[in-house]
């Protein structure tokens, strides 16, 4: 077992084969270290599963299982039921990509939530099927270029809208469902810790930029995830039993172009008339999301400026056991 770092467990340790700058690897490393090694992790098929267990070398320093693409939530249901039957309270955590959540895994996820299994389901949302080479998923945003939604004479990328999965999940009378992203570690930490304190099914959708599929510089993974939030395209919200209980207010709304520009998957929209229409559409989508969740005027202390703030001696670390402190209140 790798004990290189005395300040965290590295549940997801080094030597995994994720691409350079992988947002999903970063998100998973954060989430699993926030939860710690005393949990059972179930992984859907996808990048995370492949790059962490490649060629009989596992990057997991906690019990981990992968079965097939669609069934992670059901496997977790079984694991949780087994633990319950054995009188154990080991946390059970599912990790899946957007394919394993929005699309092929949605049925098992819905069943898991409906049955009330005490499982945290974490979706690392990189908005396409990256593992198979960037094909569109129902999470792919409007107008994005993928290999199966290519721009062409008759196309400006994906025709359809990104599936509003958090609303679908929340509609299950879900005890806790929240969105987060890698750029805001204190927010992510607060949400993971909160989720771990709640009983029953919980859901986190974590936007995880993919330098390969989004075609941005590998150094910009955190930056683009921040811009996704600051433009309003990816609202950070928390829902309890279907009710919106907190949002990350935007200290300042940035134009969507600032988010789109560094990403090659939107490149085709720039410099053409039809592309300009889609740019306006994307801006309108951002505006609509901001209005829907009140991202500019929500009555909350927590905003995009505060959540970024770095401090001397850390922004909160990883605890081996979950602290009960409420150091970051989302809905204060």
């Amino acid at each position: 077992m790798d004990k290189r770092d005395t300040f965290r467990h590295n549940v997801l340790t080094s030597g995994h084969r994720a691409c350079s700058g992988c947002g999903e690897a970063m998100a998973a490393r954060m989430v699993t270290d926030l939860i710690g090694p005393d949990a059972i992790y179930i992984n859907a098929t996808g990048c995370l599963q492949v790059f962490t267990t490649h060629n009989q070398q596992s990057a997991w320093q906690a019990p981990w299982i992968h079965s097939v693409f669609a069934n992670a939530a059901a496997v977790a249901s079984g694991v949780e039921a087994a633990l319950r039957a054995k009188g154990k309270d080991t946390p059970v955590v599912v990790q899946a990509g957007d394919g394993g959540t929005f699309d092929i895994g949605l049925q098992c996820l819905s069943g898991m939530i409906e049955r009330g299994h005490d499982v945290l389901f974490v979706c690392y949302d990189n908005e396409a099927y990256m593992n198979t080479g960037v094909q569109r998923s129902s999470s792919t945003p409007h107008a994005v270029r993928t290999t199966t939604s290519p721009p062409g004479r008759l196309s400006q990328g994906k025709h359809h809208l990104k599936k509003d999965v958090i609303s679908i999940i929340a509609a299950h009378h879900m005890p806790y469902a929240a969105t987060a992203t890698i750029a805001y570690f204190p927010d992510l930490k607060a949400k993971v810790e909160k989720a771990m304190r709640i009983q029953g099914p919980r859901f986190l959708q974590i936007l995880s930029p993919c330098p390969l599929g989004w075609a941005h510089d590998s150094a910009l993974s955190v930056t683009v995830s921040r811009l996704a939030v600051e433009t309003g395209l990816f609202p950070l919200v928390e829902l309890e039993h279907g009710e919106l209980i907190g949002v990350m207010r935007l200290a300042e709304q940035k134009p969507v172009e600032e988010y789109l520009r560094p990403q090659g998957r939107f490149k085709h929209l720039f410099g053409t008339k039809t592309g300009a229409v889609e740019l306006r559409h994307l801006q309108a989508l951002a505006d609509a999301r901001i209005r829907r969740y009140g991202l500019l005027d929500a009555d909350t202390q927590w905003d995009t400026a505060r959540a970024m703030q770095s401090a001397r001696h850390g922004r909160g670390g990883y605890a081996s056991s979950m602290p009960a402190s409420e150091e970051v209140k989302n809905d204060a």
């Binding site: 077992m1 090694p37 005393d38 949990a39 059972i40 179930i42 992984n43 599963q49 492949v50 962490t52 267990t53 490649h54 060629n55 009989q56 596992s58 997991w60 320093q61 906690a62 019990p63 981990w64 299982i65 992968h66 079965s67 097939v68 669609a70 069934n71 059901a74 496997v75 977790a76 249901s77 079984g78 694991v79 949780e80 039921a81 087994a82 633990l83 319950r84 039957a85 054995k86 080991t90 049925q107 098992c108 819905s110 069943g111 409906e114 049955r115």
Partner: protein, 395 residues
């Protein structure tokens, strides 16, 4: 003590005696009575288990996969379309070497949709890495559940107990259910060495490549081969303890001096035995051989039993479309490898619940050498029983 039980009830009671900790299922005819009974037992507090109503058979299989991976004894049951929907997961369970036990209430596969019994469903899973036991009676079904857990957990291989839908699941027979203490004695508590456990973190189901994937398959194959004596030994041990045996891999009937052997699987063998008795009474040297364990395929045992036969007829309720009888094909291969050149007649019948009556089976026997040259199989003749009333549907 014998009780008059529906096959589904008998199986549910036997499963219950095995103390499963997680039961997950999705309803499908003709499996429903099994899981309804288990649900009621859990509801009554008679069975201490988590009963999980899956959102599909795919989910149900995945749930028992997770449960066993977490170290719990688990049970599921399905049939037909449900089994096919489980297929991806069933392969996965076998690949992960998880000792899951399930019942397949054998039923035809659509289209056209048909709820009645044949073996097409479980036959489709023959290459998945599951042990398959085809039972003949409700008593055997119940006893085989207890044996199945013992076999699965000893071999780290999943076991599918295949029982004919309606013919067994919905038929009442007197069944002798063992007492709990005796079952506990036969079946020790489940301890899974590779269970998911933070104190011994382990990665299950990681990715592999060309340089090691084949080793997984060869290990599975070796485990399957090793399972044959285990299945026989546990059936014998069961006999010692409970006074009943079910043949282990194969069950022979009046094979002594038999020139013709009728070979089949599952509940049809009752009728086959009646035909054997009748033909023996007429002076024909006929015997029957029931293939109880289809996977692992007991090639050597079959060759031993059939070395003296001059005519071998395989009656089966499934077809590999485009090829013919599945059991027959495998049997031919096994005998050929053993140097036995006796032709194997492949007869397919009973599909979609069609009755294989003694008359039909006898007719099959009488169709001596009627095969067209080069034909590898034939369908069984239709049963014409004008003096019998038409049976009602049981859907």
């Amino acid at each position: 003590m014998k009780k008059l039980l529906e096959g589904s009830q008998a199986v549910a009671e036997a499963v219950s005696l095995c103390r499963p900790q997680v039961v997950a299922a999705y309803p499908i005819t003709p499996q429903t009575h099994i899981i309804e009974r288990l649900a009621q037992q859990v509801a009554n507090g008679e069975l201490e288990a988590e009963f999980i109503n899956a959102e599909s058979e795919f989910g149900a299989a995945s749930i028992v996969l997770g449960a066993v991976a977490a170290g719990a004894r688990a049970f599921t049951a399905t049939a037909s379309q449900g089994l096919l929907l489980m297929t991806e997961v069933l392969y996965n369970i076998a690949g992960l070497r998880l000792p899951v036990v399930m019942v397949c209430a054998n039923r035809a596969v659509g289209a056209p949709i048909n709820i009645f019994s044949d073996h097409q469903d479980s036959m489709a899973l023959r290459d998945s890495g599951w042990i398959q036991l085809y039972v003949e009676s409700n008593q055997e079904a119940a006893d085989s559940m207890i044996q199945a857990y013992r076999i699965a957990e000893a071999c780290e291989l999943p076991v599918m107990v295949c029982m004919d839908g309606f013919f067994l699941t919905h038929t009442f027979e007197p069944v002798d259910l063992p007492i709990q203490a005796a079952v506990d004695d036969f079946l020790p508590p489940f301890h899974f060495a590779r269970a998911l456990d933070p104190s011994r973190p382990m990665t299950l189901g990681g990715a592999s490549e060309a340089d090691n994937y084949q080793e997984y398959r060869s290990a599975q194959q070796a485990a399957m081969e090793d399972a044959q004596p285990v299945i026989e030994a546990f059936d014998a041990e069961f006999d010692d303890q409970f006074g009943r045996a079910h043949g282990g891999l194969l069950q022979a009937y009046r094979l002594d001096e038999a020139q013709t052997v009728l070979l089949g699987m599952g509940s049809l063998m009752g009728a086959v035995r009646d035909v054997v008795d009748k033909l023996r009474d007429q002076g024909q040297a006929v015997g029957a051989l029931r293939l109880r364990c289809f996977r692992p395929f007991p090639a050597q045992a079959l060759a031993q039993y059939l070395s003296g036969a001059q005519r071998i007829i395989v009656l089966e309720k499934a077809i590999s479309i485009g090829a013919g009888g599945i059991v027959a094909a495998e049997l031919r291969a096994a005998l050929h490898q053993a140097g036995i050149m006796t032709p194997v007649e492949s007869v397919i019948g009973g599909l979609g619940g069609r009755d294989l009556t003694p008359e039909v089976i006898e007719a099959v026997f009488q169709e001596t050498t009627q095969d067209e040259a080069g034909a590898t199989f034939r369908f069984a003749p239709d049963h014409v029983t004008p003096d019998e009333p038409v049976r009602e549907d049981c859907s």
